[in-house]
């Protein structure tokens, strides 16, 4: 069994792998962590931005915690090359780390729109803690913020920007907002909702240049009027951090191709999180799911297998939720499957929308929008996830749901979805609480 584990990347996937290694191993092993940043959670950066939490709250594994777990950490250093024949990882500063097995969990990085001025002052991505700190320092009440890109990442910080008393304009090159999270109908509803809440939105506009004018930022577009603002946040997508693996011999497609144990084409090299291309649970096809829950599950499955257990993963489920101005927006599974059977429901008198997608009598995808104070909305959010995750046969409920797409609860309960779901665990055993990771003795 491997006694020297190397974890490359200290994000959600890497930290979950370390915890699981310590939980599952039968003998104490050596664990080395290489991470360009101190381990923290990107998920909570929006709450750091709006000052509802302190910076200390974002860290997932402090130096003290890593020491408790018996992890040797190289923080602030990046992996530069992987020699899979010699079982050695070389860091950017030339340090060589030998391993018996390793986990590639180097995640993804933001991509800025390739326009002049994109690297200038007061133009930031919002991905890393450093970038969040820059935005926190520059965003003041009354400032005008322009968000370039109307995707999930942008929308996670929308509430925070408004809560800080800033004026917000969103510009998006696609004809509509949230193009990779919800469908056209849902997007129209969210757009109308945001405009009602004072957010300016311009879709279908191509940014061509960002200039400095009298201490402010001027955005120019291929068509339409310029926008002058104080701060630009670029949320124009992310790219997988694969470059450093070139020539390593590890098989790469859209991400590092992994099997159901999170193992790459090299048997003692695993991959997890944004960088891994594993099975999509619903479609059965290989996919990169650059989302937090996938990183967590990938990381735990990899950690268990690295600890010598045989844990097979059923595949990741695409799930996203964002709340904007007290409107919940969530989607699950194959929500954009153009060939699926669909049923939709839209309430004329409140911002409530459902879309259900079917393959046979199984729900394979769903979109749900509703006011976050609607007490039943959250029940349905979880139940839709459960229906897609479990793939229970809905039999005659399918016809009922196609006529009544809001009536999810009876269908969920009567189809015995709970019965199907209860035996399922990721690691084949009950999960341990976050504080229960075995510490070094």
């Amino acid at each position: 069994m491997a006694t020297r584990h190397l974890i490359i990347g200290g994000g959600t996937a890497g930290i979950n792998a370390i915890r699981t290694l310590r939980e599952e191993e039968s003998e104490r092993s050596e664990i080395t962590l290489v991470s360009a940043e101190k381990p923290y959670s990107r998920m909570v950066l929006p709450y750091y931005l709006d000052r509802s939490i302190a910076e200390s709250h974002v860290y997932t594994a402090t130096a003290r915690v890593l020491a408790d777990w018996g992890v040797k950490a190289h923080l602030g250093r990046r992996a530069a090359a992987l020699d899979v024949k010699g079982n050695v990882c070389t860091l950017e500063d030339g340090t060589k780390v030998e391993y018996d097995d390793c986990l590639i969990a180097t995640g993804s990085s933001p991509v800025k729109a390739p326009v002049p001025g994109a690297d200038g002052r007061a133009v930031h991505s919002f991905w890393t803690l450093d970038e969040a700190q820059a935005v926190v320092a520059e965003l003041t009440p009354g400032s005008h913020v322009v968000m370039v890109g109307a995707g999930f990442i942008a929308f996670t910080i929308l509430n925070s920007i408004l809560a800080l008393g800033a004026k917000l304009t969103i510009v998006e090159v696609a004809p509509r907002i949230l193009p990779r999270m919800i469908d056209d109908t849902g997007a129209r509803l969210v757009e109308a909702w945001l405009k009602k809440h004072g957010v300016a939105i311009r879709t279908g506009v191509k940014l061509t240049k960002i200039a400095d004018v009298k201490g402010r930022k001027q955005l120019k577009f291929a068509s339409g009027a310029d926008i002058v603002c104080d701060l630009v946040i670029m949320a124009t997508g992310i790219t997988t951090n694969l470059d450093w693996l070139k020539g390593s011999g590890v098989r790469v497609n859209h991400g590092v191709v992994v099997d159901d144990r999170q193992r790459s084409s090299v048997p003692n090299v695993y991959a997890a999180g944004d960088i891994a291309e594993g099975r999509d649970r619903v479609t059965g096809e290989p996919a990169v799911h650059a989302i937090e829950p996938t990183a967590q599950e990938h990381g735990r499955v990899a950690g268990a297998n690295m600890a010598g257990k045989d844990v097979r993963y059923r595949g990741s489920l695409l799930i996203n939720i964002v709340e904007v101005c007290h409107l919940d927006v969530a989607s699950f599974g194959a929500w954009d499957d153009a060939t699926a059977e669909t049923a939709t429901g839209l309430k004329a008198d409140r911002p409530a929308y459902r879309k259900l997608l079917w393959r046979g009598d199984r729900l394979t995808g769903a979109i749900i929008l509703g006011p976050s104070q609607d007490i039943w909305t959250t029940n349905d959010v979880g139940m839709l996830k459960g229906l897609v995750q479990s793939g229970v046969s809905l039999a005659r409920w399918k016809a009922h749901l196609k006529k009544n797409p809001f009536d999810v609860k009876n269908a969920f309960i009567a189809s015995k979805t709970t019965h199907t779901l209860l035996p399922e665990t990721i690691l084949g055993r009950p999960s341990k609480a976050p504080g229960d990771t075995p510490v070094a003795v």
């Binding site: 998920m43 929006p46 009922h400 609860k409 009876n410 709970t418 209860l422 009950p430 999960s431």
Partner: protein, 156 residues
């Protein structure tokens, strides 16, 4: 561990469990903040209380990016308010629909078995909710299947 066992055929739909739950959890009688919820069946002629099963995976707990959901003394998954940031990830990770979000406190909340003395079970006048040392199970599935069979007649 002991869990909430539901005998749905005994439920009268009186909603005392929701009142008791919200009072215990928040100090106010506000069913909107109850984490046990009475579902109607057959056009409000049958009812059954639905709440967290305290499942083995703890999808809410493993999904939390800041470790804000833990396992309390009686074995229930419980939200640590000081740690929860309100990101809602747990609400989409829980496949049972029993993770909730409170817009007033901006925190997630769920059934924590009231620390071992569940208010809903105590309040239930017909013993449709009991707190027993049994393995958790799908208490409502068979009941709901039978009670909804007629709804689906004619649906094809």
């Amino acid at each position: 561990m002991s869990v909430l066992k539901i005998y749905p055929e005994k439920c009268t739909g009186c909603l005392r469990c929701e009142l008791a739950c919200s009072y215990m959890q928040t100090g106010e009688f506000q069913p909107a903040k109850s984490v046990i919820r009475v579902s109607p069946f057959e056009g409000h002629t049958s009812y059954a209380p639905y709440t967290c099963t305290q499942c083995a995976e703890g999808w809410c707990m493993t999904a939390c990016p800041v470790g804000a959901i833990t396992i309390g003394a009686v074995g229930a998954k419980d939200v640590l308010d000081d740690t929860c940031v309100g990101c809602k990830l747990c609400t989409i990770a829980c496949p049972y629909g029993t993770m909730f979000y409170d817009p007033d406190t901006r925190k997630a909340f769920k059934c924590n078995l009231c620390g071992g003395a569940p208010a809903c079970a105590e309040a239930c006048p017909t013993a449709a909710i009991t707190y027993e040392d049994v393995a958790t199970a799908d208490w409502l599935g068979d009941f709901a299947r039978e009670r909804t069979a007629r709804v689906l007649v004619g649906v094809s």
